[in-house]
């Protein structure tokens, strides 16, 4: 598994001399960002641009009885005050369901609430004014009369007959249920030496992108075109949805995505207030800008991971895991988010639990319920941390029960590295994973035995340190199986166009987007390597539906694996075209030529024949000198999507080393290790930094992050002072190692790496805390692991 890919093509970019693949190359767009000269949506200003501020409901559930905007409309600078009813004239409502998630239901949602609000923070009116402050001033003068309704906040009672039904037309508060039963679960539990059960509780948390969601919508009535500047991960999806609900053709909508101040899945969705902003621009025939403030971000950016999951594991004395069973309950707020739906997370939990392990006995139930809280939907590593925490928590509990080392029980149960291809009990197909190689590497990186010895020595001095291990599988490179099969117009394929310009440089247009992952860099690395052109002569254009091929964008760890392969294939075609014309110019054959360092050279001896600059000059300015019948095509486009496997599964393992202060309940993270297998590594530094960033988001969930609601559905910590996220002072150094199992479905062999860090971090930390607390007999299966949770488990409070 640690070997390179099978050599399928002697001219593969992976093997070429001077290849940028696998090398650390600085990202080309960093100077702009470091000098404060990026262009984020919040920086954009257009002539006649107005600013919108949304008046939002203070109630979690209420009827809107009356809105009096007369005073607000007279305030200085106000352009318009628009209610939901008025906006409905230009934009249609939507329902967030997908047909392949059978039974998933949701209610029609409007851009601005019309008769009723369903969560605290839902917009009830829009104020458009010459400045944001003028709009905020006017919003204070809108009088809204509400009739407060009972709020459904507790997901564990959402399905009780006594609980009000949020959307009467749906009959109940159950949005989605999935049951899965594989193998012989009851028999397996009955035949087990030990069966361990636990309930795992996960705090609802959110992305906290540093740049809030921002949109500038510009309806040009003269062109009948809407240009949307938005920090989005999926520009073509936004184009499609905006056109659909505004009654436009896709060609009438252009989505431009410049720099994006953080995304993490938060910006892969389309929010009601964004839809309202598009509609307001069309209604008012001028550019309208919406930038969420931080309180709005907490109240309206999607939340995630609000789960209570009962888990059960069976185990034999020799460590053999016999079965897993889970019963997961999750609350998604009042609507299933559109267009990706809010059932995907629970579906992923069912898919992923038990995934790294051999046992085929697996039963799962997932129920997704409506609540009067902010909407929940996909956030980085969708469902992975839940599945990993439940699986790895159960495995540790089983190990503890039979007195086995946590590493040993994993060695005995992880799917063997030579067992592939194979399938999980939930039906996922694995092409090639490397759990054992990864675990072995991790144990060696962390010097496990030495840590255990240190832990034992410190315990005698009343210092309580713990080691936590978490193996995981990770969904990357999604095909149409994710959304397309369910009817969503979300492209799974990506496209790349490359062309040689008149001075022998390359312009590359790709449908993947850049939010800091390094999409621009990896595209330039692949294209430069394939063509034999230096990276400083490759310019990447992305984030513009008018100027890039149609495609999915950057989410679910698909940029490198799908967009990267499209770049590779497009560059191969262009390379062939260049060599064809070079052969004509040089009176040679394409097979005798190669491109190295911006020159066409002899394949045999490497001697320079013609600089690409000169070739381009001839093609573009003196085609009359080319032989008759030659029409050089110095541009090529290719699209790609995986077809054989619906997803490229990757795997990894993490370890946490931490200290628990049993007097204060504080956890000090000392060190964290990750070994991950993302197939071919295009840029080791970018991969490692994706993983580190992902780990820290997972650590936030493990220790700090939680959206705290009261029983009336009020979010009580909607600011950065009260909602804690990891800061530099609390974070440990993170060592990252790799095992490389390239996917054979692409020539590049790259799988995704964006979810891996987040997937396993919380599980590793929780297992480490429980390991530290073992002398006290305390077991915690709840995150975040706040001092209160820890002291409660210790019986101190």
């Amino acid at each position: 598994m640690t070997s390179g890919p099978e050599k399928r093509d002697p001219l593969s970019v992976l093997d070429r001399p001077n290849s940028y693949i696998g090398k650390i190359v600085p990202r080309p767009n960093l100077d702009r960002l470091m000098q404060g000269r990026g262009l984020y949506v919040s920086d954009i200003e257009l002539p006649r641009m107005a600013h919108v501020v949304f008046l939002r409901s203070p109630y979690a559930h209420a009827k809107i009885i009356r809105i009096d905007a007369s005073a607000a409309k007279c305030m200085p600078g106000v352009v318009a005050v628009v209610t939901g009813q008025e906006l409905a004239a230009v934009i249609t409502p939507w329902v967030g369901v997908l047909s392949h998630l059978k039974g998933l239901k949701s209610a029609p949602q409007s851009a601005i609430a019309i008769d009723r609000v369903c969560w605290q923070g839902e917009a009830v009116a829009a104020v458009v004014a010459s400045s944001r402050s003028a709009a905020e001033d006017a919003a204070e003068h809108i009088l809204v009369e509400y009739g407060e309704l009972e709020a459904v906040t507790d997901m564990s009672t959402a399905l009780d007959p006594a609980t009000p039904v949020i959307h009467a037309s749906l009959g109940d508060n159950l949005a989605f249920e999935r049951n899965h039963d594989a193998g012989a679960v009851d028999q397996a539990f009955a035949g087990s030496d030990e069966v361990v059960e636990a309930e795992f509780i996960f705090g609802r948390h959110t992305g906290v992108t540093l740049e809030p969601r921002s949109v500038v919508a510009d309806w040009n009535a003269a062109e009948a075109r809407l240009t949307i500047y938005q920090g989005t991960q999926a520009p073509h999806m936004v184009q499609n949805i905006a056109a659909l609900h505004l009654g436009l053709r896709e060609a009438q909508v252009r989505v431009v995505c410049k720099d994006v101040g953080g995304s993490f899945g938060i910006k892969v969705h389309i929010y009601a207030d964004e839809m309202a902003t598009y509609a307001l621009s069309k209604l008012l025939r001028r550019p309208v800008k919406f930038v969420a403030d931080r309180v709005e971000s907490f109240n309206t950016d999607i939340h995630a991971r609000d789960h209570r999951c009962k888990g059960k594991i069976g185990v034999q004395r020799d460590g053999t895991i016999t079965a897993f069973e889970i019963d997961d309950l999750t609350g998604i707020g009042p609507y299933s988010m559109y267009p990706r739906t809010s059932a995907i997370e629970a579906n992923q939990v069912v898919n992923l639990v038990g995934g790294p392990y051999v046992t085929q006995n697996y039963r799962a139930r997932a129920r997704v319920v409506f609540q009067n809280k902010n909407v929940m939907c996909q956030y980085r590593a969708v469902g992975h941390p839940i599945a990993c925490s439940v699986t790895e928590g159960l495995v540790d509990l089983a190990a503890m029960k039979i007195g086995m080392d946590p590493v040993e029980i994993r060695r005995r149960n992880l799917i063997a590295d030579d067992a592939y291809p194979c399938a999980s009990p939930s039906g996922l197909r694995f092409e090639q994973l490397s759990h054992h190689a990864a675990l072995t590497k991790l144990i060696s990186m962390m010097d496990y035995d030495a840590l255990r010895a240190e832990q034992a020595a410190l315990r005698t001095r009343n210092i309580h340190r713990g080691i936590g291990i978490a193996s995981f599988i990770e969904v990357t490179n999604p095909s149409a199986a994710f959304y397309g099969v369910g009817g969503a117009k979300i492209s799974s394929q990506d496209g790349v166009a490359v062309r040689l310009d008149a001075q022998g440089s390359v312009i590359c247009q790709t449908s993947i987007t850049e939010q800091g992952q390094g999409s621009e860099s990896l595209t330039a690395q692949i294209v430069g390597s394939t063509l034999g052109i230096s990276m400083d002569r490759v310019r990447v254009i992305l984030g513009d539906t008018d100027n890039t091929p149609y495609g999915g964008g950057t989410w679910a760890s698909r940029g490198a694996g799908i967009g990267g392969e499209a770049a590779l294939q497009a560059a191969k075609v262009l390379r062939r075209n260049i060599l064809d014309v070079a052969a004509a110019i040089l009176q040679s054959t394409a097979g005798e030529l190669d491109i190295v360092n911006n020159n066409v050279v002899n394949a045999s001896d490497g001697a320079t024949r013609i600089e690409l600059n000169e070739l381009a000059r001839i093609v573009y300015f003196r085609p009359d000198t080319l032989p008759p019948g030659i029409q050089p095509e110095l541009m090529a486009t290719r699209h790609f999507v995986p077809r054989e496997y619906p997803f490229a599964f990757t795997n990894g393992v993490q370890a946490s080393w931490l200290e628990v202060d049993t007097d204060t309940g504080f956890v000090k993270l000392l060190k964290h290790w990750v070994v991950e297998d993302c197939g071919t590594i295009i840029n080791p530094q970018l991969v490692d930094e994706q993983i580190r960033g992902g780990v820290v988001q997972g650590l936030g969930a493990a220790l700090f992050e939680k959206c705290v609601y009261d029983e009336r559905g009020q979010l009580t910590n909607a600011n950065m002072a009260d909602y804690l996220v990891p800061m530099s002072g609390e974070m440990p150094d993170i060592d990252v190692g790799h095992v490389v199992s390239p996917t054979l479905e692409t020539e590049l062999g790259a799988k995704g790496a964006g979810e891996a860090g987040t997937a396993g971090a919380a599980a590793a930390v929780t297992n480490a805390v429980n390991d530290a607390l073992r002398p006290f007999g305390a077991v915690i299966t709840e995150i975040p692991l706040t001092p209160q949770v820890i002291l409660t488990a210790l019986g101190r409070i």
Binding site: P26, R27, L30, D31, R32, L33, M34, Q35, G36, R37, G38, L39, Y40, S42, D43, S133, G207, V208, T209, L210, E211, P212, D259, V260, G261, G262, S263, F264, D293, R294, Q515, G516, Q517, G518, Q685, L686, E689, R692, G693, G694, V695, V696, Q697, N719, M720, A721, V725, P726, M727, S728, G729, E730, M731, D733, I734, G757
Partner: protein, 161 residues
């Protein structure tokens, strides 16, 4: 107190004379009046550090300071520090180490890091983490930033030694 007030200040070495409403904060003033968009607004309540600028040599949260309070002051933003070359080495270290992903926190992070490096010639990793612990980064996990600041400190110490 709602009428505009005349202020005079220096921003990145250029004199600015203008009138602003008393409630306008310095971050919005820099961004909206002077079009210096490098100063980013992340939280508007002084927690995230994305709006960090230098006023009379000290770093401040531009979202917590009113523009009128900057009357007669010297304000330096990321654009000024970049153009003067003062942090060119720090920026190069950030580039080499990929110490930024989305880049939204980066101007504030660089301002805070430079502030530490001016105060302390050889900060250890813990001091670096402590000094930067008022600046959110949601992308990197901080380690690369700490590495970049540490290597800049080392290089500067070597140069001045």
């Amino acid at each position: 107190m709602t009428a505009p007030i005349t202020i005079s200040l220096e921003v990145n070495g250029e004199r600015v004379d203008t009138s602003v409403l008393p409630r306008l904060n310095l971050a919005d003033f820099l961004r909206e009046y002077l079009k210096l968009t490098g100063t980013h607004v992340g939280c508007e309540h002084g927690v995230c550090g994305a709006c960090t600028v230098r006023v009379d040599g000290e770093i401040v949260r531009a979202c917590l300071m009113l523009a009128v309070q900057a009357d007669n002051a010297s304000v330096e933003t990321i654009e000024g520090l970049s153009d003067s070359g003062e942090i060119a080495d720090l920026q190069a270290a950030f580039r080499d180490r990929n110490a930024l992903q989305c880049g939204f926190c980066t101007p504030g992070m660089l301002m805070a890091a430079q502030d530490l490096l001016k105060q302390t010639s050889a900060p250890d990793r813990e001091q670096i983490r402590e000094h930067l612990s008022g600046n959110y980064c949601r992308c990197t996990g901080y380690q690369a930033i700490v590495d970049a600041v540490e290597s800049t400190a080392r290089a500067r110490a070597g140069r001045t030694a």
